[in-house]
């Protein structure tokens, strides 16, 4: 065999090139012989491979209920971000389906309790749609409430108005916000964090959720401003339960 062994450990770039099948045959064989001669190095490469496999699984399954990994084209360079753009799938869905499910969940302790708007209350024509928007106007106090989701796959647009923006509406887009969703359960389930969110011109933060990923659980949602505003009542926290709506009859 003519392959010469490597003199030094392959660089991280070479590891990436090997895993991406970008090395030529001779370099591939040299890399593999190095792995056979250096098991610790081979295990490091396996670790990178496992990371790739995990990322691929996530991308395939779209497991994260918060905005899935954005397509590279949707992420501009630092400093150029005016506000988080919608993932491409939501644009496609929004273009084809025009449904607005406005759920005013809890306005405040002083206002009368508004019942959640569920799937059954939607007009029949809208029940066939695969996309629903829920507009969360404001939540405070006893914030546990329920959004009923259709059994079919849905994308849910969640719009949150941060508390501190109500007190300081002069510059709604001056701060970044992070939103964490944590399942209110003892089961080992991941929480999800999305940061760098900018309020849109109307002051709302926009999140896009996969209905199937949040269904059947109560989530504690925490909104944090970065950097914190002096005297602002943050972090803002509230619970939302996502339930499955009964199947439409007829």
């Amino acid at each position: 065999m003519s392959t010469n062994p490597l003199l030094i450990p392959p660089s991280p770039d070479a590891i990436a090139a090997y895993l991406a099948h970008r090395l030529n045959e001779a370099d591939t064989h040299a890399f593999e012989i190095y792995c056979l001669e250096h098991p610790e190095f081979a295990r490091e490469v396996e670790c990178d491979l496992a990371l790739k496999i995990g990322l691929r699984q996530l991308a395939t399954a779209g497991d994260s209920p918060i905005n899935p990994l954005p397509h590279p084209e949707t992420v501009p360079a630092p400093g150029l971000i005016a506000r988080r753009r919608r993932p491409h799938w939501s644009l496609a869905a929004a273009a084809s389906i025009a449904i607005l499910l406005t759920g005013v969940l809890l306005v405040s302790r002083l206002s009368p309790r508004v019942p959640p708007i569920g799937f059954a209350e939607l007009p029949a024509a809208l029940r066939q749609a695969s996309l629903a928007h829920a507009t969360l106007i404001r939540t405070r106090g006893e914030s546990l409430d329920t959004i009923a989701l259709a059994a079919a796959d849905q994308m849910l647009e969640l719009r949150i108005l941060p508390d501190d923006l109500v007190a300081d509406s002069a510059a709604p887009t001056a701060h970044d916000y992070s939103v964490r969703m944590a399942p209110d359960t003892t089961r080992a389930t991941n929480s999800f964090l999305i940061d760098g969110l900018k309020p849109s011109a109307d002051g709302y933060l926009h999140l896009y959720l996969k209905a199937d990923a949040v269904r059947g659980r109560t989530w504690l949602i925490t909104v944090t401003c970065s950097p914190p505003r002096p005297g602002a009542p943050l972090p803002q926290q509230f619970h939302i339960a996502f339930a499955t709506a009964p199947a439409p009859s007829g």
Binding site: H29, P39, L51, I53, D195
Partner: protein, 207 residues
Amino acid sequence: MDRLDRHTGEGSPDEALCERIRAGDSAAEASLMERLQPGLRLILYRVSGGDRELAAELSQETLLIILRRLRSTGLNDPAGLAAFAAQTARNLAIAIRRKDSRRRTDIDLEALDATPAPGRSHPEQIAVGRLGAIVARVLDQLPTQRDRVVLQRFYLHEEDKAQICRDLQLSDLAFNQVLFRARNRFRSLLTEAGLNKDDLLDSEHAP
């Protein structure tokens, strides 16, 4: 890549190991298996088209072939043990592929497609396995969205590092730091999840 002209000379560690195995030293056999296994898994994962279970099976078969050879006739060039192991693994994978291909010509292909393979899960059939769940936690814990994008573009889309750095206005150092942090966190979470280094790629088959 920087290469070393192969000349390990007389009395190389590989040569000594081969001698001991030929003399029936079981400790030497264990040492050889421990050394070759991670590299063989990688090679076979690649040549089997990403089939983790098949790679694990073939890795064991390759080790058996190598051990039988070393116990009996030995190698003409013991210093080339790693190259011999790599070639044996590739040959075995090619033989299995040919065998499978011949088998497929003798059976009803439609019936085969319609029948789920009971013991072997194709990677695409896995929704989110343990690795996916752990990677989700890594992504969750990265400090910025930019870091998540770096991981996605580098590992998932297999984009060129220089291009990613240009697009995101990242220095080489900053890029490496993002990867370093993510990989370290991933390893810590793997350890927390009880996945040791030898069962990483098999972890999807665990309950």
